[in-house]
Amino acid sequence: MKGLKYQLKSIRRDKMCILTFLLPVIVGIAINLLSGVSFQSMGETAFGVLENNISADTVEWLQSNGTVTQYETLDELREAVNNPSTQMIGVLQTGNAIQTFLSGDELEVNRRIADTLPQIYENRIEQLSLDKTIIPVKTDNNEGLKSLLIVLALVTAMFMGCTFNAMNIISEKEDGIEFINQVLPTTTKSYVVQKMLLGFIGGSVSTIVTAFICLRIEAVQILPFLLIVLFSAYISALIGLFIGYFSNGLMVGIVYIKIVMILFLAPPIFFYLTVPDNSIIFILSYLIPSSATFEGIMNLANGSTTIAFKDIFVLVVHCIFWFLTYLLISERQKNRYN
């Protein structure tokens, strides 16, 4: 307990460290302030048209299928279509028909839309008589990207525990405190507990505050959410210990942190966006702890609490596995010193 007091005392002086934990909170506020409108247009098909070339009816028809941007000259339109960061389809009208063009680097879906649009436009009136059943979804996809960003901010917040722990241990190593610790009558257990607690508490608090700002959680979801946060912050703090253990200089430590951060943040998003729920790759993605965290919070945000318990179970397995691995490694190191 006394050790912990000293640890706290040492970070109190470190303003930057407090700032790291505040960072996700600030990002959370920023995401919250961003209006949904700027995100909404992203999922839609984008059409670009020439102002004087196109009839009001056609614009209206295009607008029912996506966003329409009007340009004054053909050059401007071509430039916008050619811009690699957009997926815009250029639409020109001649008489009753339309022609489409694109830059050729678009996603498959947009290429197909551009190819088939003129014929679909031509036959827009002739409709088969159909019963249409469109099931509305609970979550608005308008919020989809926003909730993705929020979950990302939360996972980053948990990751802060790792960064903090790793930096803390490495700088102690550089200052030679590691050797002093070996002489001091502290046990490995109390050392690990003290080091972990700081990152763990910081990460958890930062995540919970961020969640409080951005997420609307129902009462039944509070318990599973807390469990996910606590287990994930624990794993992240533990990873911080691993990094601290394996790196022998600040620069090396930073690179490890960078690699772990990429591994921590990129795969969950990638799997979430591209891989269907029941494939083998999706199940394999649970080998990365942050995937379980990410899926868990996403499930909670989408309102499916029961599925989230599966993610919590995976997290518990991760906690036990990584803790045992750490014990094993530090035990081996101890034997080497003796």
Partner: protein, 330 residues
């Protein structure tokens, strides 16, 4: 004086070697290239699939877009992804079944698309005005982004780790009495980092674009990389002299990375229109880098003048700060 400079260079090079600077750049290079070649180039989004349940074979149209399935439940399961469109022709009146994607226009288009497929109205070919295919575009785009990220990181962090080590060893204090110009102290580091950044740029470009494409874009890319590298190294130099220790520096860097690079990436990759982004200095550097990779002429003389001015100003600022620091150290 030049002898002193060459010794400084040698010393800085050794320092970079011992801080595993090159090894780390190499690891980053491998990591990025693997990601680009195995993951990013394959990213795509397929056309909305159409699932058809037609036990009595009422529909005569066959199309590459239609997948036939054999029960109503299968239609509902297939459409659970909020992306596919399902048709049930088992009843008297055919039924279109789908889950809303949450976007009104996308839902409308999916319906229109489903009907067009069922009616067989999906022929045609759009005109192509660009020169890149999707793979080449992906390669150029992501290489530009990784390079931007890495250059703003490596120069900045690499220099700081060297400088802090020197600070700890008291090298700055020793320099105060050495017969070497202070500008040399800055220049030698700047030169080494510039050269290593340019090498990194060349390797990353050649590996990920392929030799013929890389040769086309390299001159322009190297110019932009040089500008970015010089600016970031000088900023790193300034911060490293000012901040008391490396830990604080790296945390400060984290803050900077999140707020400087993230909005730039978002604006660059998704085409989100943010009016204020033009006031973000890094955005212009990023756009210039991207334009270099896509060989689009968009960079003009004022941009280079401002960059040049910024580099000179930063150099003077660093020089002044170093002077102050040496005076402080006695």
């Amino acid at each position: 004086m030049w002898r002193g400079f060459s010794h400084l260079l040698k010393k800085d090079f050794k320092l970079m070697l011992s801080s595993k600077f090159f090894l780390l750049a190499l690891i980053s290079l491998v990591l990025y290239s693997c990601y680009i070649n195995f993951v990013y180039v394959n990213l795509d989004q397929e056309m909305y699939p159409v699932y058809l349940y037609d036990p009595q074979d009422k529909l005569s149209v066959t199309s590459e877009y239609i997948t036939k399935i054999d029960s109503r439940e299968a239609v509902e399961t297939a459409c659970a992804d909020q992306y596919s469109v399902g048709f049930d022709f088992s009843a008297d009146k055919p039924e279109l079944y789908m889950l809303s994607s949450g976007l009104e226009t996308t839902d409308h288009y999916r319906m229109v698309w489903g009907e067009a497929v069922i009616n067989g109205n999906v022929d045609g070919q759009a005109g192509v005005i660009g020169t890149n295919n999707k793979e080449m575009k992906n390669r150029r785009e992501i290489t530009a982004e990784f390079l931007f990220f890495e250059l703003s990181a490596v120069g900045f962090l690499g220099l700081a780790s060297m400088l802090f080590k020197e600070k700890q060893m008291g090298v700055i204090r020793v320099h105060g009495i050495l017969p070497v110009r202070r500008s040399m102290f800055i220049l030698s580091k700047l030169l080494l980092l510039l050269v290593s950044d340019l090498m990194f740029t060349s390797l990353l470009t050649v590996i990920n674009l392929g030799v013929p494409y890389a040769i086309d874009v390299l001159p322009e890319v190297l110019l932009q990389a040089g500008i970015l590298s010089l600016i970031m190294t000088l900023v790193g130099f300034f911060c490293a002299i000012r901040l008391p220790d490396f830990k604080q520096f790296s945390l400060f860097y984290l803050v900077l990375a999140v707020f400087v690079t993230t909005p730039v990436f978002l604006a660059g990759q998704t085409g989100i229109a943010w009016d204020w982004i033009v006031y973000h200095p890094m955005y212009h550097l990023f756009e210039a880098m991207k334009a270099a990779y896509f060989s689009t002429p968009m960079v003009e003389a004022p941009y280079y003048l401002i960059c040049f001015g910024a580099i000179i100003l930063l150099f003077l600022l660093v020089y002044q700060t170093l002077n102050c620091e040496m005076a402080k150290e006695g």
